[in-house]
């Protein structure tokens, strides 16, 4: 793909102090987002944490109350006309004219961009439909589409042209497990072609496998961002030893220089796992000291645990 990754080293998305207030409510509160070129960036957060408002600001649909935005190296929203043709987006669910066919809808949205080629339009529309597996239903009115089919059509719309950046807001919403897998494969293949993919979700598990980077939103603030490795590391993993010899195990852990933790479970000892200490070193030290080990696990190192730690658990909408 020729349009991809040609415009220098500036991040695909960079915001500084980006804020949006609706009345007295601060939907987005001073976020400094950095999405490197070529990354698959997972934008995580519970419902109502400001993800969609941020995406709307990135695309120039909503004006920022404060802060600056640069997308693909150019300021937004002042350079909408040169930036957005290089960006494909799915924002807050798909939206189409129900009385038009899937193909007619894509044709219209492509015609809306005045510098997209009319000569290649039909071929590009068909290719996009093919890519999301909608060729057979292309002639049906969108009215008759299921939610999953609309979602696919929305993704097809983002793929009408070669894009440098794809912004996909909750792309797996309404899809069955098979569709979710297909979206993941699609994101991967887009990234392989060199595009930067910015994908939001409230379900970490949906995108964890495809992301190289992630940012976590909570109540309008960006509480963490970085590569997945960095985020995991920031989570301070613990080593938990299941053993009948708790006292001996605690002695060994302390001797290894690990910080011991209060452990409420019976027949278990735990400690923070320091950077230089591998879990297997802990195991061999325990065995060498004669402590009987039933099990040894590292906790707090999955993104899921880190995510819950950052955003809180439960069903309550943040605000």
């Amino acid at each position: 793909m020729s349009a991809v990754g040609t415009t220098g080293g500036e991040p695909a998305i960079r915001t500084d102090g980006l804020s949006k207030a609706f009345g007295s409510q601060r939907a987005v509160d001073g976020i400094d987002l950095v999405v490197p070129r070529g990354a698959v960036f997972g934008f995580l957060g519970p419902n109502g944490s400001g993800k969609t408002t941020t995406i709307r600001m990135l695309l120039g649909l909503v004006s920022a109350t404060a802060g600056t935005i640069r997308v693909l190296g150019e300021p937004m929203p002042s350079r909408t006309r040169t930036v957005l043709p290089r960006v494909g987006a799915l924002v807050e669910g798909p939206a189409f004219y129900p009385f038009l066919s899937g193909r007619a809808n894509l044709t219209r949205l492509d015609a809306a961009d005045r510098c997209s080629s009319g000569r290649t339009r039909a071929a590009r529309v068909d290719a996009a439909l093919e890519r999301v597996g909608l060729t057979a239903a292309a002639g049906k009115r969108v009215h008759a589409y299921s939610l999953g089919m609309k979602q696919r059509l929305g993704i097809a719309n983002a793929l009408l042209r070669p894009r440098e950046l794809l912004v996909l807001d909750e792309p797996t919403n309404g899809l069955d497990p098979q569709g979710t897998r297909e979206v993941r494969a699609l994101v991967r293949s887009l990234a392989d072609e060199g595009a930067t993919v910015f994908v939001s979700s409230h379900l970490l598990s949906e995108i964890e496998q495809v992301c190289s980077h992630a940012g976590v939103m909570s109540a309008g603030r960006l509480v963490a961002q970085g590569t997945l490795k960095e985020l995991r590391r920031a989570g301070r993993p613990r080593v938990v030893v299941r053993t009948p010899d708790v006292a001996a195990a605690r002695t060994v852990l302390a001797a290894l220089g690990l910080e011991l933790l209060e452990e409420t479970r019976e027949q278990a000892a735990s400690a923070l796992l320091a950077d230089g200490t591998a879990p297997e070193d802990v195991t061999s030290a325990l065995v060498a000291a004669g402590a009987r080990v039933r099990g040894l696990a590292v906790e707090g190192s999955t993104l899921e645990e880190r995510f819950v730690e950052l955003t809180g658990e439960g069903f309550d909408v943040a605000r």
Binding site: G60, S63, T80, V83, V91, F99, A112, D113
Partner: protein, 294 residues
């Protein structure tokens, strides 16, 4: 519109992939807008209802006697004598209610309809500039005004020719023109009536930028159309009359004089242009600064 778009095209071209080089297609979205408008069943239902007005009138006149001259809508008594008058009669019946009503539906739906479907955000990130979306949706309103007037006039001419004799027409000024001359005047009539609706269309466009509920914008526009005509009928508000968008709506009788009296055509054009300018500017001011949250 074309100037603003021309300026954008030069800078926009830099964002293109090499294989995509082509002269920017300024009218692709306009064509698409018209296709969306005329592929909708609702549009055809409204045009069909409008076309029924002359049919209803012609049939009513045909199956009863002609009635007394001076009773009923303008030109009604002339129909039995000459089928060419059906179109004029049908228009004078449609102008106060049916035409503004259907036009309000289309005008109120412009921005608010796209917003409620959610397609507005996808048009804007395609990207189509907000000015362009506004201009193109208004062009759809203009096209509908023309189509609606044509529906009434063509159905009127058709049913008139079927049910009544077609002969030379005696004009209001007493002169006589042949059928060919009358067709020319009928075309001028189509132009006049479509033009008369442009001001209301601009009001509807502005109303449509204020809400994401299309029915609200439609209702507001219809209410204004009615209020304008009521105000126009109150002699106490005589000072206001020349400024009302509906003031010249029924002024097309002047097209039936020889020579044609262009006075109301010109005044109407000027007035409608002023409304388009004012409400177009309001719609622009509102829509270009609005947060699109739908």
């Amino acid at each position: 519109m074309s100037r603003a778009e021309g300026g954008g095209a030069v800078s926009a071209r830099r964002g293109l992939a090499p294989g995509d080089e082509e002269r920017p297609r300024a009218f692709a979205l306009l064509g698409s807008q018209l296709a969306v408008l005329f592929r909708r069943r609702r549009t055809w239902a409204m045009l069909g209802a409008l076309a029924l007005v002359p049919v209803l009138i012609a049939v009513a006149v045909r199956v009863t006697d002609a009635g007394t001259p001076g009773d009923g809508p303008a030109f009604l008594s002339s129909i039995a004598d000459n089928g060419l008058f059906v179109a004029f009669t049908a228009l004078s019946v449609s102008v106060p209610l049916f035409l503004p009503l259907t036009l309000s539906v289309v005008a109120g739906d412009t921005i608010a309809g796209e917003a409620s479907l959610g397609t507005l955000r996808y048009l804007l990130i395609a990207p189509a500039s907000r000015v362009r979306v506004l201009a193109v949706t208004y062009a759809g309103v203009v096209a509908f005004a023309l189509a609606a007037t044509l529906a009434v006039v063509l159905a009127g001419v058709g049913i008139g020719a079927v049910l009544f004799p077609i002969r030379d027409v005696t004009l209001l000024s007493g002169d006589t023109v042949d059928a060919g001359g009358f067709v020319l005047r009928t075309l001028l009539l189509v132009g006049y009536t479509s033009l008369s609706l442009l001001g209301l269309g601009a009001i509807g466009l502005f109303a449509s930028t204020l809400t994401t509920v299309p029915v609200g914008a439609m209702a507001a526009t219809v209410v204004l159309a009615a209020a304008g005509q009521i105000a126009d009928a109150l002699p106490q508000l005589a000072w206001l009359h020349p400024w009302l968008f509906s003031h010249y709506w029924l002024g097309f009788g002047d097209l039936l004089r020889e020579p044609i009296a262009w006075g109301s055509y010109a005044s109407d054009a000027l007035l409608q242009l002023a409304y388009v300018a004012v409400f177009g500017a309001l719609a622009y001011g509102r829509f270009t600064t609005k947060d699109v949250l739908s």
